[in-house]
Symmetry: C2
Subunit: 331 residues, 2 copies
């Protein structure tokens, strides 16, 4: 990056035709050069389609996120939505809006991050658009494939289900706090949390094990990108049920707990957002098997109840979760 | 629109959850409420995927385009890309970025325009995202279905092909000129041209006839959204051929010709853009049949040549088309 003198050029220097031709080199040769990409899904598979829009100053900032990480995160967020539906990544489109003075090197790093994420988890960039805008904006639409019987949905939570999370919560928020200087740098955990914030890992890896344990069963799932609390609330709302969450069971990085204390760590775990873990509702026996297979920090953090409230229990105290307390993009 | 007092509310008043829940009422009930939409394509069909990003101040302006027309045009642009690939609209996602002070009524009108376009041409909004941004931006990804043998591609133009356009060129530019006050309002044509600019019609209607006449043949096609000249240049570049265009054969609304003169009308027809007609390269006999079936203003405007230049011939004069003269989003 930045080694070639060409890369100091801006979009305005290159013009749209050259930029588009160059961006197409990131896509498989077979799908570029037309008004759209042509793809043929595997027979008998359903498609899962998901869209995310990331805006500079709202979802990312040059102060906390290099363009490579912006690209990775943008892609990972979409692949995480596919994972939450049980689907395998297949194809993505990228709609970019950028100021004319944007350096080609910045775009190259952005695409590099997206590409590395796809190389790791599967899928290819099959199309896109690039246009002028005062506000850098990245709109990604991702397509996954899934056997119809293996689709995960929010509305399938049933009373008595155990609520499983696949990993630590609060780490991405801790990484952001470090980058913003809200907490001091420490040797313990710091790099891990920054990585959790900048290069989140969509939990596509857990799908084969899950599918093996749950053949024929309808499973409720969601990712925790908007916060763990929000995920539980959304699952409960979609399923017409409630939940009790045991705060002490929420997996939190012990180093984080040590540095900021359990109170703050619990808040970040519930409301920090962007952890991109899966939140699943499973019959208790299956949940135990699944958590054992994954190993820590995967954990059962609570259970689904008939009472349509979501309650957090911490020791002898309980409080009901305000259903509007999820992450709000419009403050 | 605007009749309900609720519609005077802004995004900031409503908050993200309520806004998303309301936007989901525009989608079929079966596909909403999860991290993604689940769709199952018809067996044996390929998918065509296309993305367009529209930015306020670049692609649309409240001065020339009411939100209903912004929605229609955004959708029509994507459906036109599907038509240019031979595909039938199936599903779309809508990624919206809007300032918090945006009125709900504006969004309702925008979605109303998108929905009317889909009602007319097929397809459903199956997902999306909405987020805060200082710059209103609409990113649409559209999916069409097509039999693999009926895919239209830019790279299939062959020497000797006739170049066919499905309708008038220059009318959308004339509509914009009227709205901007560049030309005076007149009884003749004005409303037609404003409609051509605000509510363009993707030429999905010509596909059945085209498919009937060209069974088993590989056809080059593109839409003229970035200008007729750009479309011919792109088709020639992708196919490694050239073209001669007869300026006098380009269909231009006679009323427009009368008002602004043939010189200006010819410029707008070639470079004005946003006419959303199809430009097709067909064997001469098939081209003649196709144009006869469609009737005027569909026309043969030139032919594909081995010499890799694109030449415009007007009377005894010819000039070679600068291959970079297409519509540039980054000036």
């Amino acid at each position: 990056m930045g080694e070639s003198p060409l890369m100091n050029a801006t979009i305005a220097d290159w013009g749209e035709h050259r930029l588009l031709a160059w961006l197409q080199t990131f896509s498989p040769a077979a799908v570029v050069g037309d008004d759209g990409a042509v793809l043929t899904p595997e027979p008998g598979r359903s498609l899962v389609i998901t869209t995310d829009v990331l805006v500079a100053g709202v979802h990312f900032s040059d102060a906390t996120t290099p363009p490579d990480a912006v690209g990775w995160r943008a892609m990972a967020a979409n692949l995480s939505d596919l994972a939450a539906m049980g689907a395998t990544p297949w194809a993505v489109t990228v709609g970019l809006s950028l100021p004319p003075h944007t350096k080609i090197a910045w775009i190259e790093a952005l695409y590099g991050g997206m590409q590395r994420c796809l190389d790791r988890y599967g899928g290819a960039i099959v199309g896109g658009d690039v246009t002028r805008s005062p506000t850098p904006t990245i709109a990604i639409t991702a397509f996954g494939q899934v056997a119809p019987a293996q689709v995960l949905r929010r509305r399938e939570a049933r009373v008595g289900d155990a609520i499983v999370v696949t990993g630590y919560h609060g780490s991405a928020r801790a990484g952001l706090a470090l980058l913003l200087g809200e907490i001091g740098r420490s040797d313990e955990g710091g790099n891990r949390w920054i990585a959790a914030h900048q290069y989140p890992q969509p939990r596509l890896d857990v799908l084969p094990e899950l599918q093996k344990l749950t053949i024929g069963a309808k499973i409720a799932a969601m990712d925790s990108s908007d916060g763990l609390a929000d995920a539980v609330v959304q699952l409960c709302r979609a399923s017409g049920v409630g939940a009790v969450i045991e705060a002490a069971q929420i997996p939190i990085d012990p180093d984080l707990m040590a540095i900021i204390g359990p109170e703050q760590a619990g808040q970040w775990a519930l409301y920090g957002g962007e952890d991109f873990e899966l939140v699943l509702c499973l019959r208790p026996k299956v949940a135990a098997q699944f958590v054992e297979q994954l190993g820590p920090p995967a954990a059962i953090i609570g259970r689904i109840t008939a009472d349509p409230e979501v309650v957090i229990r911490a020791g002898h105290q309980t409080h009901s979760l305000d259903q509007a307390q999820g992450f709000q993009h419009f403050p």
